[in-house]
Amino acid sequence: MADPLIRFRDVTKEFNRPDGAGTFTAVDRLSFTIEKGEIVAVLGKTGCGKSTMFNLLAGLIEPTSGKVEVTGHDPFREFNFFRGKIGIVFQNDRLMPWRTAIDNVVLGLEILDTKQTEADTVARRWFSRLGLSGHENDYPHALSGGMRQRVSIARAFAVEPDILLCDEPFSSLDEMTARDLRAEFVRLVKQAGKTAVFITHHINEAMDVGDRIMVFHRPARIAYEARMDAASREGSGRQAVQDEILKVLSLEAGEGMPAAPAAVI
């Protein structure tokens, strides 16, 4: 079997408390692997360490102990190795207000030193795919929340990354827009054969998007894992997974939590 694309090995991340009184553990001896082409939805309550795990994976912060590997490389220490290999869609769109919508999509390509004409062509193609045509020269403030998030998705996809990291990307949108974008996102990821880690705190979103669901308990330990197939996406199969997730989420961290990850459904 091929090596996993992403591997966390006993990763712990501690932060200094703002009042200087010691440290707190955001991620505690976290271990998991993600295979190429998988979409893994990470689910958990607010403050359970999902975003810390996300930042570790993105190479934005360094683990206190343990090892994070993406394609066998350390995303924090080998920062430049990952140029163009990881695309991120954040919770808020994080568009640069001084750039037009199209220039925001071009940003990643510009950083990767892509020729301007080529970058422009790629950006326009993504614009069209995400239904944004006609808004190329609009500044972000003139776009609706859904359109802004589409621009940020286009920005992440435009650099053709191997891995997509999404941190609750649709949480600030209305349900209808979020549903459309979710479906669009899964279609684009599958079509391009990308690997994606999708963080969310909505059970249904995790079940719609993920090939696999990991439920986190504070401090970022996997309390439950479920593989989503055709049977578990619909009817009683879906209900069973949903009930299980609800049960796990309702447990206080540590209370009744298995020492090792629960069995995969």
Binding site: A58, L60, F79, N80, F82, R83, G84, I86, G87, I88, F90, N92, R94, M96, P97, W98, R99, L107, G108, E110, I111, L112, Y139, P140, H141, A142, V159
Partner: protein, 257 residues
């Protein structure tokens, strides 16, 4: 009737100027002209300076000194502010020095510059730079610190080189602060340059003011002062145009119009 907001603003400014001029003209009827010269004398002297090349040259000389001083202070200030922003530990070493500089009056720098240096232009440039340097540094530093953590992380996710990060994120972030710094320091520089020229130059608006004082010519003193005010107003307006163009992405509420 609803007036165009811009037109209303102009009319309001014109009205307050008219009141001031009327008050001055009234004073000129009751006081000797060496104290309150008539408005027409001041206007005539002001226009004469503008159309008489040797005199206009003095104004341009002062303008050039202001520009050189401000550009030097801006460059040095940015060179200090950006490393401080990047490496906050530097702040505890550099900030006390800048605060100390801020406390020294411009006139003291004039004396120090006269004792230290020989060339007039060098002295004036030194005074201009040293007096406006702290403000530029603090303002550029402040705008650097206002950089959005979210945008920084988003940009870093593409793994840019240091130069690219500077170009795509840092420069656009600090531009509003830089423009504000130029607007504020322009007024300060105009005041300081007059002091520097008054004491240590043989040309420029400050030198001409000294001459008018020796001649007891109030109309001349006011006309030369107006040159400086006009210069500041013109440059301020140019900065506003540049600002409007560079910051055109900013949304404006209809209520704010």
């Amino acid at each position: 009737m609803t007036l165009n907001p811009r037109l209303r603003q102009i009319l309001q400014a014109a009205a307050s100027t008219a009141v001031l001029l009327a008050a001055w003209q009234t004073a000129s009827f009751f006081f000797p002209h060496y104290l309150f010269p008539p408005v027409q004398d001041i206007v005539a002297r002001t226009v004469r300076i503008l159309v008489n090349w040797p005199e206009l040259k003095q104004v341009l000389e002062t303008a050039m000194r202001i520009f050189v001083g401000l550009a030097g202070a801006f460059l040095l200030g940015s060179l200090l502010a950006l490393p401080i922003g990047r490496y906050p530990k530097l702040e505890s070493y550099i900030t006390p020095f800048l605060v100390f500089l801020q406390g020294i009056p411009a006139l003291s720098w004039v004396i120090i510059a006269i004792i230290w240096f020989h060339g007039t232009e060098f002295r004036i440039a030194f005074i201009m730079i040293i007096t406006t340097l702290p403000a530029f540094t603090f303002q550029v530093l402040d705008s650097y610190r206002s950089m959005s953590k979210d945008l920084f992380e988003m940009t870093m996710s593409f793994r840019p080189s240091g130069w690219t990060l500077f170009r795509v994120l840092i420069v656009p972030t600090i531009i509003p602060g830089i423009l504000t710094a130029w607007k504020i320091n322009l007024g300060n520089a105009a005041r300081v340059v007059v002091v520097a020229e008054l004491v240590g130059a043989t040309g420029g608006v400050g030198y001409e003011l000294l001459r008018q004082q020796q001649l007891f010519d109030m109309a001349g003193a006011l006309a030369w002062t107006i040159q400086l005010v006009l210069f500041v107003l013109v440059v301020q307006q140019i900065i506003v145009w540049i600002e409007n163009w560079l910051l055109r992405y900013r949304p404006v509420s209809e209520r704010a119009a």
